[in-house]
């Protein structure tokens, strides 16, 4: 399905969905795409094999009284299980569906898929999406949604505004899906997959918000004890927003923001990304070039995929571009690290130390392109 270079337009996804049922033989694992989910019967030997199968499983369908279980698992992980000495066999469970979850190119490029295959979900961490809200009813997000708070009103029909913090724009739901869409059999998958998402609705249905509301949402993120604040927004400098960022950083929040879309330009990073308490994220294209719209400057700390990014919107999926899309890639990675016990400062340093040099200027890529797998100490040899 995903070969590392392709991303999927809506059309190709729809086409794939209509032909999703595939029947395969005994060699089914070999013919499955590494990102496809498969249902397999695993025979194990001893507790370590049992535990390994459990850890690798997306869901457990059946546990037998004898040493075997039926699980749903990405094909990549099934192959890894098959190679373990404490696993006796991995067999495809009869007919299986090639489920139709798409791995967006950005998820593949930052090797978040490698993290998923190794059981890294970000479970236990909390990310505030400080944005236009999050669709409270999206099947690819709902299970990850925690509390939300509306600093501006959701303006739409009751079907759209079920919660005060529901998304009346699309932008916040798109960013939420990039950071943390579920790893399931539909739609997309996020950088993290089981972080708890909290919608701080500060941008109105036209996508703008006041300094005061944004500062209040940053304060709320800190007071709630959340780990990460993801800010796909920007503008001119604001003393109140700067103070709020300091307040949150002092209380352990990792703040991430979009560098801005004023490119091509130099020394033009917007705010809050420009504050030293905030990780400023520039945007790349699928060929690792700097996206032409991306702002650049000394404040840029990391680069992440930002052009033609496919993710969730209320009621479906769509492809958007912007440093707004780059920002939640880093936020999801921050959530993964903080779920593993990193503090905000440690996570920030770790993301810098493990970023991949893609040959852009320092003002364009900062420390480099986000590498989720290496940040988590995993081998990302598929690059």
């Amino acid at each position: 399905m995903s070969d590392g270079n392709s991303h999927f337009s809506r059309r190709s996804v729809l086409k794939k969905s209509t032909g999703a049922l595939a029947v395969v033989g005994v060699s089914g694992l070999a013919s499955a795409d590494p990102d496809d989910f498969v249902e397999v019967n695993v025979g194990f030997a001893g507790d370590s094999g049992h535990q390994a199968a459990h850890n690798a499983a997306d869901s457990v369908e059946r546990e037998f009284a004898f040493d075997a279980m039926t699980i749903r698992i990405p094909a990549r992980a099934a192959k890894a299980l098959e190679n373990r000495p404490d696993v006796r066999y991995v067999e495809v469970n009869g007919e299986w569906e090639a489920f139709s979850q798409t791995t967006p190119w950005g998820i593949d490029r930052v090797d978040a898929d490698v993290a998923h295959a190794n059981g890294e979900t970000g479970a236990g961490a909390d990310i505030a999406i400080i944005d236009t809200g999050i669709d409270s009813d999206h099947p690819d997000l709902q299970a990850n949604l925690g509390e939300g708070k509306a600093f501006v009103k959701c303006r739409g029909n009751p079907r759209m505004c079920r919660q005060p913090w529901d998304d009346d724009n699309d932008h916040g739901t798109h960013c939420a899906g990039i950071a943390d869409a579920l790893n399931n059999d539909e739609g997309v998958v996020g950088v993290s997959t089981e972080v708890t998402l909290h919608a701080a609705k500060v941008l109105d249905k036209n996508g703008s918000g006041s300094y005061s509301d944004i500062a209040a949402a940053i304060e709320w993120t800190a007071d709630q004890g959340y780990d990460v604040g993801s800010m796909s927004l920007g503008g001119s400098a604001s003393s109140t927003v700067r103070d709020a960022c300091q307040y949150a950083t002092d209380r352990g929040v990792l703040l991430v923001a979009a560098a801005g879309n004023d490119g091509p330009c130099t020394d033009c990073v917007g705010y809050p990304a420009g504050y030293d308490t905030v990780v400023a994220v520039s945007a790349t294209s699928e060929d690792d070039s700097l996206a032409n719209f991306s702002s650049t400057g000394a404040e840029v700390e990391l680069a992440a995929p930002g052009e033609d990014v496919y993710s969730s919107i209320p009621g479906g999926y769509d492809t958007f571009s912007g440093t707004s899309m780059a920002c939640p890639h880093v936020a999801g990675a921050g959530g993964q690290l903080m779920a593993n016990g990193y503090t905000n400062d440690e996570a920030r340093q770790r993301l810098r130390d493990t970023a991949e040099d893609i040959g852009l200027g320092d003002n364009e890529q900062g420390a480099g392109l986000l590498d989720v797998a290496v940040a988590l100490g995993l081998d990302s040899s598929d690059d």
Binding site: N169, G207, S210, Y211, L233, S238, G260, N261, F320, G322
Partner: protein, 109 residues
């Protein structure tokens, strides 16, 4: 670019601005935006700025686009919540890339 525009101002307890951009040409016009600020509004008092919509606000950093067919329109709105009484000039500016489009209107509070 063959764009016509108009600016309506409605004064109540607040001041509401409605900026309508019309494609007056024979071909479709593509508008592209760098972020969620698609039109800005300013209030001038004898040439000095009293209020600006974008002042004190931040914007979603996502590209936007819109195609206006011949005769097609796009409408942008903003509200000045706490106006002081006086006579003013309102200026609306389309913030699309590589496009100049502006409309003015006089009003009093």
């Amino acid at each position: 670019m063959p764009l016509d525009s108009s600016l309506d101002v409605t004064t109540d307890r607040d001041v509401q601005f409605t900026f309508i951009v019309t494609n007056s040409g024979a071909d479709p016009v593509d508008l592209s935006f760098s972020d969620a600020l698609e039109a800005d509004f300013a209030v001038l008092d004898d040439g000095s700025e009293r209020w600006r919509f974008s002042e004190g606000r931040m914007f979603a950093q996502m590209l936007g686009s819109e195609t206006l067919d011949p005769g097609g329109t796009a409408t942008y709105e903003a509200t000045w919540d706490d106006p002081d009484s006086g006579s003013y000039t309102a200026v609306a500016t389309l913030e699309a890339n590589e496009t100049e489009c502006e409309a003015r209107a006089e009003f009093s509070v």
